[in-house]
Assembly symmetry: C3
Homo-oligomer: 467 residues x 3
Amino acid sequence: MATVKSMRLIIPLAIVQIVFLIIFGIKIEYHETAKPVDTVKPSIVGGLYPSFQDVHVMIYIGFGFLMTFLKRYGYSAVSINLLLASFCAQWAIIVRAAISGNWTVGVMEMLTADFAAATILISFGAVLGKTGPLQLLIMACIEIVLAQVNEHIGVHILHTADVGESMFIHAFGAYFGLAVARVLYSEDIERASGKEGAVYHSDLFSMIGTVFLWLYWPSFNGGAVEGDQQHRAFINTYLSLLACTVTTFIVSSLVDKRGKFDMVHIQNATLAGGVAVGTSAHMPIQPWGAMLLGTTAGIISVLGYKYLTPLMASKLRIHDTCGVNNLHGMPGILAAIGGAVAAAMSSKETWGDSLYSIFTAMEPTMMNTTMTTNAMTANVTEVMGRSAMEQGGYQMAALCLTLAIAIVGGVITGFILKIPFLDNPTGDLLFDDTDQWNIADEGFPNSGELPLNGKSGDGKSRDDTQM
Amino acid sequence: MATVKSMRLIIPLAIVQIVFLIIFGIKIEYHETAKPVDTVKPSIVGGLYPSFQDVHVMIYIGFGFLMTFLKRYGYSAVSINLLLASFCAQWAIIVRAAISGNWTVGVMEMLTADFAAATILISFGAVLGKTGPLQLLIMACIEIVLAQVNEHIGVHILHTADVGESMFIHAFGAYFGLAVARVLYSEDIERASGKEGAVYHSDLFSMIGTVFLWLYWPSFNGGAVEGDQQHRAFINTYLSLLACTVTTFIVSSLVDKRGKFDMVHIQNATLAGGVAVGTSAHMPIQPWGAMLLGTTAGIISVLGYKYLTPLMASKLRIHDTCGVNNLHGMPGILAAIGGAVAAAMSSKETWGDSLYSIFTAMEPTMMNTTMTTNAMTANVTEVMGRSAMEQGGYQMAALCLTLAIAIVGGVITGFILKIPFLDNPTGDLLFDDTDQWNIADEGFPNSGELPLNGKSGDGKSRDDTQM
Amino acid sequence: MATVKSMRLIIPLAIVQIVFLIIFGIKIEYHETAKPVDTVKPSIVGGLYPSFQDVHVMIYIGFGFLMTFLKRYGYSAVSINLLLASFCAQWAIIVRAAISGNWTVGVMEMLTADFAAATILISFGAVLGKTGPLQLLIMACIEIVLAQVNEHIGVHILHTADVGESMFIHAFGAYFGLAVARVLYSEDIERASGKEGAVYHSDLFSMIGTVFLWLYWPSFNGGAVEGDQQHRAFINTYLSLLACTVTTFIVSSLVDKRGKFDMVHIQNATLAGGVAVGTSAHMPIQPWGAMLLGTTAGIISVLGYKYLTPLMASKLRIHDTCGVNNLHGMPGILAAIGGAVAAAMSSKETWGDSLYSIFTAMEPTMMNTTMTTNAMTANVTEVMGRSAMEQGGYQMAALCLTLAIAIVGGVITGFILKIPFLDNPTGDLLFDDTDQWNIADEGFPNSGELPLNGKSGDGKSRDDTQM
């Protein structure tokens, strides 16, 4: 039977899972098209379900394997990812239902639950190897609520567009996670840097995650929309990723003193193009516009891994295990700016009625106060909605709100996670599966020569340790 | 040129493959919608093909990689899985055509062929590492026939519902395989237990299989139905898996003396929720009902791995390499019971006409003996079909029949596989690729320290061998 | 900052990527259905996008991981594959637009861009480990143009059918790559053969690529067509692969002196069935016809790996790292012959009007010279299009043209790649990631016992080095 320490995880997790079950039992119904009907009707799931499955692969294979790069943290990366996402998806269905008042579940809710889980998995990347499962589950409980509230304000109150949720998921998840990481910083983390690197095959496992994320990103950005918006989202995301990938290789070689490539850059910065086009993917930003966003994201992201991440760790004491600032944070901000610029430059002439389906608040509305008396002679006044510039301003406002809620929420959450009886790993247990797992026979690969406790390497730059 | 021993595999396999080719040549035609037509018409494959591909990934990546956990049996796991499934799919198309009398092949037949292969791959899990390819192919020849006959009786004679085939595939495959494993049991297997464990990276390869199975399970349970039934199957399976996954982590930690997680549980028990909801996934069992099935499956499955599997090996001499009893067997029985209970509680009031499309035998039928004479004055008698309780009874009857055919068929097959000139591995060749494969340079990973021949560990519980 | 040597890659690559961006900016527009419209209309992407995603997985996961089998070249295999394909996709969109005059991009263009990338990745397989990134990018620049011109001639001038592009992609890519490999041959390659093999886990990484290629091959062959042609393409490809897989195991065991299987055969020859049916997959060749092609391909491919590849290296000085001649070359020729035979045997009676939608040049055409005067009394002459035999001849002509352009183009490209200041790896840098990559901690797996510089093994046949 488990130890007292482990009961601190088991008991609250069991209670929460039972509460989930009860809430589902009392409140959640099937979506209208999933209820039993008199005759078998065509399901609405047709087009949506394949997109859901693509995103599903990104969340569980993509994020899970991307994080297996750590030489001694592969079990946790892929397994805790599975636990965390499964937990978040249930909680997100409840929280979203509570906010919207629509207590149903269908394929669309499964897709948005997976999206919601992504937010937390991005934060997980920032604190990878430095938090226990209980800490992560508490973080998830809080973050899901804040992220969903933020998204609700952004979409339904500020009326902003963010089709691939680069603001509401990527930037939010990254800065929330970094704020938590700042609060949880300890000297032990520096000392454990010898365990922070990869081994040859863990880098290949990580590439499974990278490539699946890369492949299905068009579905992430376009899965929830339809028609020409969806078609554009697929095209723009595809082109942005192509340009970003080539750029990543260029810059990775450029910043290395021997001109070599670095797997960390390939594993992560190649994906920044998907984030950077996420806000504007469904807008007619033109193919070259998508490629420009991707190119910029590739440059920013590699430079971030090379120069900013070490600096943030040493100067700001923000230790970012997976470099989420470079993959999700800065590219998320770039996406938001791209979306705001596109909004500010939009017009009815070039966008057609697409303008109003993308930016609903720009739609001209009728003053229909006097319309009821006599339609023929009514004093109809056409009231323009927001101007393009105003919409651009609202887009930036949504970004600022997102950053504010993420950072403040992350700091507060970080302090909550420091409550002593939680399962915060320290010393030898950092970046190490042995804290939570029974390890398979023969221990870790190549373990004979493992540079433990920071005696060699720093795990971030391989420039100096390898020929 | 190959040895005499290997010719015992090559010659029969070549003959059977030629026979397959001849039977296809004589009998099998394209499905109606795949025949050349006068004008290009929309294909019926639209909605079905993506579901087929999801299941296709489950069969070949999912099952194949799930079984790579053994440290020295990875080649066989993924490759013999490929051979076996390719062989079974052809045989299943023929056997199903012979039973139904409909000798055509189309995407639907590809899907059901993949389903049929799954049955044999589950049995493969029970005997993994303890059987040669010839034995497995003989097993497949017999098991495909028995499983298809059983399914035909269940669906077309007993008129039972089992949308994700938790009875006809999972329970059947598991208990057939366990019966074979019982007959093939030998003392050598105990002695070889040192090879039965994983190494660190083989556990990660295995997780590729786990996660893809987990992801696409909704397509497995809902791929072959349409409309609201399909939508419910997707939702119920998704929710069941979420609840099952969280539960698996809870119970895995709970039963460990140090409160740690065990990769064996994560790799397998997280999937039990997909099995447990398989019979009733398309029924309106409500979201909480699906989650309750998933939760129960997670508990049963982890407890099975922890306590039942070692007991079955030591007391009953049933050695279950992959623990298929815990992943497919007991959850399959749970699914059958769940389906029977749902059937018994079903009613026209709450299920609408869905009731009759799910349980066809419950549909009221007209006595039309006297209808031909004069429709206006006919003595029409409405005869009710089965009652809900009766349908529940038939569901349980289908389970019992499945278990009976599986166990009896498995025992007989086991004795056939013991015929001496077959390729039954013994001693050092158990759980070892060297029996069938030319091994790559440098042999097995970490092989220097490999605890061979049971000198250490037992490969099932890592509690005592790891810090 | 990077070295002078690396600048030789960085500067031209950066320039080309900027040129791509400019060309896209000036010329490329969204496809008609992706332009902003007045009302949201159903997108045409519905059925096409899932097929695109399947092919997308094949290109980036399939080819990328298939080539990770080399023990010290895994980073390059999966990462340079990503770079090369991303580069080729952009270039292919431009080249195809220039040839067709249709400067738009949509999901169909994304699919054909991925197809175009496949051609270059096949050639990459022939020169894997023996070329630097700059050489590969130059090769890609030339090969994309030649391959697209060849395909354009084949489809639009010779009016041939090649639905899965077994001629235009597989045969072209293979023989182009082999011609390059012949020109680049050096004695160093023989000496480096100790690095050419796999290690146990690199073989498993490779199987990820194999199985995903195998699974999604029906989408490759049928993704771009519709209706009954698509349905047949799915069925024929599926059946061909099943038969090919079983055959591969038979022949692999047959040609081994101990009767064991060889992972090289399983990783590659199992896929030859997908290539072999590629030209005729949409034709009504009957299920048994598809299986016969698959069976033949499996035999040819394994025999090629066993006997032809070593012979080509020693006698012809054509060193084929991945054995693309066996997987893409010979099966591609087989596919072309299969297509020609099917064409020669086709008739209006058995194929219906499908005949004319598959072979457009066979359609009877009206002499409408006199039709304009008076339709009622017009001297309408029905002029038959090509006969079946003629179409068969044209199919063979397309194959010959493909081989000619591929081989001549490859030889010329090979000489271009020998320009001294390019990044041609030699000596210890052959088949080794250290040339281009910063390697993770602890270097390569099992590196202590690595047989460097050809001191042991030959990497191709494991017969003699392993028990």
